[in-house]
Amino acid sequence: MLVPFQWLKEFIDITDHAQEVARRLTMAGLEVDALVKHMDGDIVMEVNVTPNRPDCLSIIGIARELSAIYKIPYRFPEHSVAASAGELGLNVDILDTNLCHRYAGRVIRGLKVEARRTPEWMQNRLQRCGIRSINNVVDATNYVLLELGHPLHAFDLQRLKGSNIRVGTPEGIKGQWAMASIETLDGVEREISGDDLLIWDAEDPVAIAGVMGGLDTEVNNSTVDIFIESAHFHPPSIRRTSKRLGLKTESSYRFERGTDIKMLKKALDRATFLIREMAGGVICGKVDIYPKNYRPAEIEVRCEKINKLLGLALSSQEIVSCLKGLGFEIKDAPDKLSDRLIIKTPAYRRDVEREADVIEEVARIYGYDKISASLPMATLSIDKQKEGDKRRSVKDEISGSLLKSGFTEAINYSFMGIQDIDLLGIGADDSRRAGLIQIMNPLRVEDSFMKTTIIPSLIKNLVHNVLHGSRELRLFEISKVFIGNGSSRLPEEREHVAAIYYKERVKSLYRDDTDDFYIVKGVAEAVFNNLKIYDYSFRRSSEAYLHPGRSADIFIGNDKIGYLGAISPAVLGSLNIKRHKASPVVVEIDIESVISSITEEIKYKPMPRFPCIERDTAIVVDSSLESSMVIKWLKLYPSELIEDVYIFDLYYGKNIPEGKKGIAFNVRYRASDRTLRDDEIDELHSLLVDYVIGKTGGELRQ
C-alpha cells in the first residue's frame, strides 16, 4: 500500500516527520518498507499490510491506525451529497444473499465524461499510488478506493439493458450447470464458472462482481448517465473467482481480504460528491439493499488473562484506553467488580474475533518494546530421547566419517526429472521409477519429481565442477528420498547418504595407485565401522548405470541397503566429461536401514593376555573366484584359536597359469588361556590350508 504523506495529513494532524511516523507504524505492525521522496517534497510511504488487515488498505485506514497510536483524532473527507432530484429508474435485486451482503448505488444523469478533465492534484495522487488516470468518472471511483479503501464500479446506465441490475451466479440465474462468458474491461473474453458471482442486467452479465467490470457497459467519453455501484461481497467467493480467472485487481485484492460494510455508503457518497464536482450532472435517486444488518460479535476479554499471557501488569483503564483508541466499543461488564470486559469491534476489524486477537491489539498499541524480556521457569521433564536427537547423532557420525575421508558436503534441491531416471537406466518396476512423486506445478519440467535417488544431483555437481577446472572431487550429500505408494497417503521419506569420487590421473610426486573403487569402498566400510556395524558385506551389483565389473551391492545381514561402483562408460559418454578422464565412483546408502542396525550397547572385552602366532600362506585359485570366498572359508573353519584373517596380496601373471590368480593370506592364532606352541599351530594351519584348498578348488602355491 502506497501512502502519500500529504494526503494522509488531510485526515490527521500529525506533527512528526515522515521518518518518525514510519517508525511508529512499523512498531505497531504496519511495516514501512521504504520512503520515497518526490520532487514537490511529498513523501510516499510503502506500507507492507499483512493479509489480516484489509482495513489498512486505504489512506483513511492508515490515519485511523495512527490515531490509535498517537491517541489523537482523525477525520473523514467531505462527502455530503445534496438530496436526490429524481427517481432511480432502475430495478435492483440480490439473488444470492450469501455472496452479496449489501448492494447500494446511485444514478447520476447528464454528466460530462472527459479523459483529460481530472484535476492535476488528483491525477498526481493516483499516479503516486500506482493507478493510471482514465477519465474523470473512473478516476473519482479509483480515488475513493485509495482514500477510503472501498472499491466502487461505475456503469454506463444507458447500456444496462432493461433498467435492471441483478446480483447472482450463472447457476442462480440460469439454472444448474449453467456457465457464462463476459468480455472484461481489459478486452479479454472470459469463461465464468457456474458459482462465480456476477452482476447482470436484464439479459447478460455486465461485471464480474468485485473483480472487474464488463467492456460493454464501460464508462467512456460517450457516456452521459451512470450507475455507481458500492457493494459488499463474500470474501472467499471473490478470492475463488479471482484465482480461477488468474485476474487480480485493486478491487479483488480488497474484497477478498474483506471490506467495511459500513464504509460502503460513505464511499458511495464521497464518489458522488467528487463526480458532481468534476463532471457535473444531476443526482437521481439511490438504492441500498441490506438484507441482514451487520452485528459485530461481542468478545469477552479478561484483563487478568491479557496480563498473564503478555507478562504485564496493566490496569483495566490502560487496557480500555488502548482498545477505545482503536475504535472498539467497550460494554459494561456484567459484573462491575470482575475484570471482564465485553468488547464490540468495528465493522472494519473483522480479523478480531477472539480474546487472543484482542490481546494482540493491546500488546501492539502498548508497544512490544515495552514488554520486558524474561526467561521462562522451565518444567523439568525426563523425556525419553527424542527420535530426532538419535537421527541427528547418526547423521552426524556418518557425515563425520565422510568429512574425515576428504569428502565435502553438498546440498541439492529435492527435485529430479524423468531424464535423470532414464540416464541411470532405472527400470519400470524399480521403486525409484515406479514410486516417483510428481509435482503439479514445478518451476521447470526437469524438476517435476521428488528425488528417489541422490546420485543424479551429485553427477550434476561433478559435471559442473569438472567444467570449472576440478581434476579431483569428493562430494557427499545426506538427504531424503521420496517413494510414493500409489495411494493418497503421504509418500515414504527415507534419509539417504550418497557420495561421488572423481580423480584424474595427473603427474604427482607421490605414487598412489589404489583403484578408485577400493578407495570409496574403504570409506563406506569406515562409515559402518564408525557406527559399530560389522555384519556388512558386498556382492556383485546389477545396477544398470554402473560398470558391471566394478560395482557391488551393499548388504547388512541379508538386507540390501545400498550400492557402490564406478559409473559405466556408457553413461559417462552422455555426460559432459571427456572419456579419457577418470570414471567417477559413486555410493548410495539408505540411512534408515543403517539406523535400525545400530546396537547401542557397548560391552568391554578384555585385551588378550597371551601372545599370538601368525602364519602366511599363498594359494592359487580360479581367477573368477572372489576373495570374499577365501575369507569366508577361513572364518568358517571350526577352531577357536583363529583370531583374525586377512588377504594381503592378490596377483596374476608371472608363474601363475592363465585363468588363475594367486591369493596370499595371513592368519593370526591366539588362545585366551595359554601361550600357543609353534608345533601345534603348524599342524592346525596345515589342516586349515587343506580345508580352504578343498573348498575353493585351489592349490597351494609353492
Binding site: 505492525g29 499483512t50 493479509p51 489480516n52 470474501p235 478470492r239 477478498e256 498473564k308 499471557l309 503478555l310 507478562g311 480474546e355 487472543a356 490481546i359 494482540e360 501492539r364 512490544y368 518494546d369 514488554i371 520486558s372 524480556a373 524474561s374 526467561l375 521462562p376 522451565a378 518444567t379 523425556d383 530421547q385 527424542k386 527420535e387 530426532g388 537421527r391 541427528r392 557425515s399 568429512l403 565435502t408 558436503e409 546440498i411 541439492n412 534441491y413 529435492s414 527435485f415 512423486i437 509435482i439 503439479m440 514445478p442 518451476l443 521428488m450 555437481n461 559442473h464 565442477n465 570449472h468 562430494l475 557427499f476 531424503k480 521420496f482 493418497s488 503421504l490 521419506e493 610426486l509
Partner: protein, 335 residues
C-alpha cells in the same frame, strides 16, 4: 718396553679410520695371537718372583688399550651414524603428500550452530515429513482454503490435498498431537516455496521452535529469543520485536536485529532501515491448541521460525542465495 708398546699402540690407533680398521687393530693386540695375549701367555716363562709385577704391568696395559678402544669405538659409531643420516637426507622443501579434507556445507554448519544453542537451553530435536498434507501444512495452522494468508507462501502441489511443506510449522501440530506439555522442541528441516531469484530458491531450510507449558508468556518469548540472538550474533546486537501476522500465532511478532553489515546506518541489505528481519514468532494461537486438544486455559506457549539461508547470508556476507545449491567446490571450500 711397555712405554714403547703404548706409544706404538697409540700411533696405530690414530690411523684407525673405520670400524674395520678398529677390529683389525683389536685382533692385533687382543686377539688370540695378539700382542697382549702373547705377552700374558709368556708370563709363565718368567720367574715366579717377577711374575706378579710383570703381570700387573701387562694387565694395566691391557686395560689401557681396552679403554682406548672403547673411546675410539664410540666415536666411530657416532661418525658412522652421522654418515648414514647424511646419506638419508631428503629435500624438506618439497610439498607434503596431499591429505584431502572435507568441508561441511555452510547451511549444515549454520543448522548445527543454531540447533546447538537451543539444545543447550534444553530443547529437543523433532522432524517431520517434507511432503505434507494440506491439513497439517495449512488447515491445522489456521490457514483455511480460500484465505488470503495462503498468498504469503507460494506452494508446490502434489495434488489437491498434498503439498511440499511451505514451512516447518506442521511439525508443531504433529508433535502436539502425540505429546502433552511441557514441550520444548526445535525442528530443523527443508521447506519449499515456488519462487526463484537471487534471494529465493524453491527449497530452503528453516528451524522451527515450540515451547508449551503452564504460564508461558510473551515476555518469555522475548527472553528466549533474545538469549538466542545474543548467542548467535554477539551480546551487543540490537534486537527489536514488532507486531506482525501469522495465522497460527496470536500475538505475532517479527524480530529484527541491527544490520550487521552497516551497523545500523542503512545499506542495501537492510534497505536503508538499519534493521534486518531474522525471525518470525508469536504466542501459539488458541485455535491451534484446540486443533490438538490442548486446554487453552491451562497451557500457553510460543513458537518461532527462521530461515537458515538468510542467517547464513548475513553471517558470511553472501549476496546470492543460489550459491548454496550450486555446490561449486570453490565456494564450499571456503567454509
Amino acid at each position: 718396553m711397555t712405554k714403547d708398546l703404548k706409544r706404538v699402540f697409540l700411533e696405530e690407533l690414530r690411523s684407525v679410520k673405520s670400524m674395520t680398521d678398529l677390529s683389525h687393530l683389536r685382533v692385533k693386540y687382543l686377539g688370540r695371537k695378539g700382542i697382549i695375549t702373547l705377552e700374558l701367555r709368556s708370563l709363565s716363562s718368567i720367574s715366579p718372583a717377577d711374575r706378579p709385577a710383570a703381570g700387573k704391568k701387562i694387565t694395566s696395559i691391557k686395560q689401557f688399550i681396552e679403554a682406548e678402544f672403547a673411546v675410539v669405538e664410540s666415536i666411530l659409531k657416532r661418525e658412522e651414524l652421522q654418515r648414514e643420516l647424511q646419506a638419508n637426507c631428503i629435500d624438506v622443501t618439497l610439498s607434503g603428500k596431499f591429505v584431502p579434507f572435507g568441508r561441511q556445507h555452510p547451511i549444515s554448519r549454520m543448522l548445527s550452530e543454531i540447533t546447538d544453542i537451543f539444545v543447550t537451553m534444553g530443547f529437543g530435536i523433532e522432524e517431520g515429513p517434507e511432503v505434507e498434507s494440506d491439513y497439517y501444512n495449512f488447515e491445522s495452522l489456521n490457514i483455511p482454503k480460500d484465505h488470503p494468508a495462503r498468498d504469503m507462501q507460494d506452494t508446490f502441489y502434489i495434488n489437491d490435498d498434498m503439498v511440499l511443506r511451505t514451512h516447518t510449522s506442521p511439525v508443531q501440530v504433529r508433535v502436539m498431537e502425540k505429546a502433552r506439555p511441557p514441550l520444548m522442541i526445535i525442528v530443523p528441516g527443508k521447506v519449499y516455496r515456488r519462487d526463484a531469484d537471487i534471494t529465493h530458491t524453491p527449497m530452503f531450510h528453516q528451524i522451527e521452535g515450540l515451547m508449551v507449558d503452564r504460564g508461558i508468556t510473551f515476555s518469555n518469548l522475548k527472553g528466549v529469543l533474545e538469549a538466542f540472538l545474543y548467542h548467535l550474533f554477539g551480546p551487543d546486537t540490537p534486537v527489536r520485536f514488532r507486531p506482525s501476522f501469522f495465522p497460527f500465532t496470536e500475538p505475532s511478532a517479527e524480530v529484527d536485529i541491527g544490520c550487521i553489515l552497516c551497523g545500523g546506518d542503512g545499506c542495501n541489505v537492510c534497505k536503508g532501515s538499519g534493521w534486518v528481519e531474522i525471525l518470525g514468532a508469536g504466542m501459539v494461537n488458541p485455535v491451534v491448541f484446540e486443533n490438538v486438544g490442548y486446554d487453552t486455559e491451562e497451557f500457553s506457549g510460543f513458537a518461532f521460525g527462521m530461515g537458515v539461508e538468510r542467517i547464513a547470508m548475513l553471517k558470511y556476507s553472501i549476496d546470492d542465495i543460489r550459491l548454496f545449491f550450486e555446490n561449486d567446490i570453490r565456494f564450499l571450500r571456503q567454509f
